[in-house]
Symmetry: D2
Subunit: 276 residues, 4 copies
Amino acid sequence: MSIFEYKKYRIYYTIDGANKTDAIPVIILNGIMMSTVSWDAFIPAFTEHHPVIRYDMLDQGQSTKMNTTYTQELQVEILHHLLMYLKIKEVNIVGISYGASVALQYAAKYPKTVQHLVVANAVAKTSPWLKAIGDGWNEVAKSRNGLAYYNITIPYIYSPQFYTKEIAWMEQRKEMLIPLFSNPSFLDAMIRLTVSAETHNTIDVLDKITAHTLILSGDMDCLTPVYEQEILHQRIADSKLVVLPQCGHASMYEQPDLFTSIVLGFINHKDKPSIV
Amino acid sequence: MSIFEYKKYRIYYTIDGANKTDAIPVIILNGIMMSTVSWDAFIPAFTEHHPVIRYDMLDQGQSTKMNTTYTQELQVEILHHLLMYLKIKEVNIVGISYGASVALQYAAKYPKTVQHLVVANAVAKTSPWLKAIGDGWNEVAKSRNGLAYYNITIPYIYSPQFYTKEIAWMEQRKEMLIPLFSNPSFLDAMIRLTVSAETHNTIDVLDKITAHTLILSGDMDCLTPVYEQEILHQRIADSKLVVLPQCGHASMYEQPDLFTSIVLGFINHKDKPSIV
Amino acid sequence: MSIFEYKKYRIYYTIDGANKTDAIPVIILNGIMMSTVSWDAFIPAFTEHHPVIRYDMLDQGQSTKMNTTYTQELQVEILHHLLMYLKIKEVNIVGISYGASVALQYAAKYPKTVQHLVVANAVAKTSPWLKAIGDGWNEVAKSRNGLAYYNITIPYIYSPQFYTKEIAWMEQRKEMLIPLFSNPSFLDAMIRLTVSAETHNTIDVLDKITAHTLILSGDMDCLTPVYEQEILHQRIADSKLVVLPQCGHASMYEQPDLFTSIVLGFINHKDKPSIV
Amino acid sequence: MSIFEYKKYRIYYTIDGANKTDAIPVIILNGIMMSTVSWDAFIPAFTEHHPVIRYDMLDQGQSTKMNTTYTQELQVEILHHLLMYLKIKEVNIVGISYGASVALQYAAKYPKTVQHLVVANAVAKTSPWLKAIGDGWNEVAKSRNGLAYYNITIPYIYSPQFYTKEIAWMEQRKEMLIPLFSNPSFLDAMIRLTVSAETHNTIDVLDKITAHTLILSGDMDCLTPVYEQEILHQRIADSKLVVLPQCGHASMYEQPDLFTSIVLGFINHKDKPSIV
């Protein structure tokens, strides 16, 4: 367990595969409800060729719980200083959902640092619609009703097909999550994280991103639908778009294998066939 | 204002275009939050060629508020007796969402009565996923928090594109709806209606439907996605499927013109070109 | 049988439902291989409320066979003079494929004349790709090989699903069409028609179209794919887009019923619910 | 240059990356018009971790030109004997289009040999529609008109978007291909290859495939549309489906980078996150 301290913030992070010193590291940026542990099952594959850094953002996992509102810009600055602290000059970023928003902002602000950028289930900008969804989450979070919070968030994160097919796993997950979703400290952190994403808007800076970029999308993702990824694809110069059929917003959970193989295939792909 | 009484239930209904006596009437089945007044703007077009019957189902609008749970089968029986009371032997049914579920059940149980059946944003069966969505609605309904109830229901009913483009209209609607959504009587009715739809399952009886059937779908409908309509299309013998691009679950609100012209074009279409 | 003469051209046309004098007439613009008789099965439905004009364009059916190249602009002028000759000041246009190109050009040039415009399987502009497809058709037409011409044109016009399901009908059609497709006069007309469409480009004039416009699209149309219709929808002010699932380029043949009901529903739709 | 002789057939093949002896080799199965040289630009990336075998099937490139008709079963047997001759007991197969059909048949007949199977732009079965497309190709091939053969094949192989955007490259390719497409020997080989694919039908044996299978699809592929890949995905037990947006039938040419990274990512992916 490692802690990076920056100003008054304590950031929990882990490094796996640290012996892969000749490869550019991968850093993973969590979705809003996630933390470093959410990626445990992915680490064996991810560390095959790269050191892998995971960290909890502000208000996630074991990092500092805030007590004021902030924006994702602060998460971007934390990421920037964490990478400097780790003496990482070049990095591959993999971000999903909330983490993808931070990744996009970071890659536009510090373009030279990012070799490969993978954003899954991302948006260029938080739309009024997405803000309204967040408002709903936060209203319910304030009620401290864990079952309600579960029911108004989790089902929308999965495709109806996956949820229906994996109902036993979902029910198990529900039991596991309800205590957490009833915890006032967790809920208040969720409220702040949600508010911090409201002002996310990279529309006018996407053209600054120079990283080789992969945009991963699920065709049943109702929170960040495919058309949002098409906007990213149109505006990020060196970008590719891939659509996973029958996959919802939590692409890493619904298609862990495919997510992993596509992400790693993209990051490890060097001798690009430019002319055929 | 007319009231039909059946057993202990009082059903509010209206008839417009009653002078179109030579045409088979159209009866409209509301979505879950709707009532007869929701269709006011559609009546001039709908009554051009047909008498149009609207009614509030149990727990909707001005009809009986229930105090026990029930299933949509009861709504089907009410519809059956309402049509008998009105001496209607043949009818064109237009149902959306909740109303489409009732319409499908009715058309499978009383197939000879239905000439044309239009179901918009429908499902053959309430999936575990959709039940979970309803559970979330009901948990929040119990909290009596109108703003929360608004935020966790209404945005999902519209496509993000429509919501974002029509944000002024949406904000206006929000102000209008929040008092209603804070009303315990309305919320308790919503809870009962939601529960009544949980057992909806027509999978094995869709082959009994003989009506000319039109299935209307929105490709941004995240509550009842297009693949659900494809199931209906595969199983209802004489059915057509139409997809409205960039349209969410509330197809009649997002595309009132197109909804109306397609529905009426379908109902009024007689000399069908069978061979070309 | 009626003939309209304009300059050196003789245009064959028919009028059905001429007694519906209080309604704005519908004029039908054929696809490239079609002629007035292609629509026979649709006439009972189309004439229920409107007079319906059909005509063969230059190089189609019984109208003048040309002996020089020309562009669709000439077809537009013929249409303009035909309508003036018939003293029609306001019209509803239904055009498919080639006919939709002519319809778009006409509606942009004479916007006030067009009340409703329906374009099915249309493009705003003939792309280099579509020109290459036409080049292939014409190379084969020159070989006078009717079987080859059939095989390289007709299958692409239907969705694989329809072609496979209706294989008996397709085989019958093949036998019927091969003699025609071996006829040098027909093939030379097809070559000229194909060439006349190469310069079709309404991209910069679509904003002049004021008609209520319906854009009909098939999601399996590989000649004029859905994204081409989206361009039309974005640029024509008062336009609606409808997608027919599992439908190819010949939407009127694959879905004659649905095509008819949607087109007539649109044209007959007057009391539009503007606010709901 | 290596030649494998089997019965009366001479099969040209190449091996790159032969020093990667600890990895399971990759064998590439060409599309119908392709040959070993078509993959030159992909070899640096493909050989990073694996030996890579390319070969010309019967009637392709430098392998035996046949003089009778045959079916793809013969190509499967050639592949089987080539692998035995090379003493390869386990292999990763990457097949596109025609090569994917052969790959599917092989993987169903010799399931234990195939570790990973990647099929791009594939069909489970040659439909009557696809047979009709082939009939058209062959009718035109018989005319020895290289320009015609180019125009009725190549444009359909690319998405309209790619063809239009890369028009300069396409024109260059056209000049390069027309002499080849005018060569009677090449055209006769194409006719035989096309006929050999007509009886392709793995519908009832797909359940015998045990390989980790990746199905790659382009959403603008009009020759082997996405719904054909969905059939494969439903019937191959351990299969994943990925859709490349705005990509046609020649996915490896339209998206060489993405094709390569996804294919290699899939083949190299070992520590699969089974539970998350």
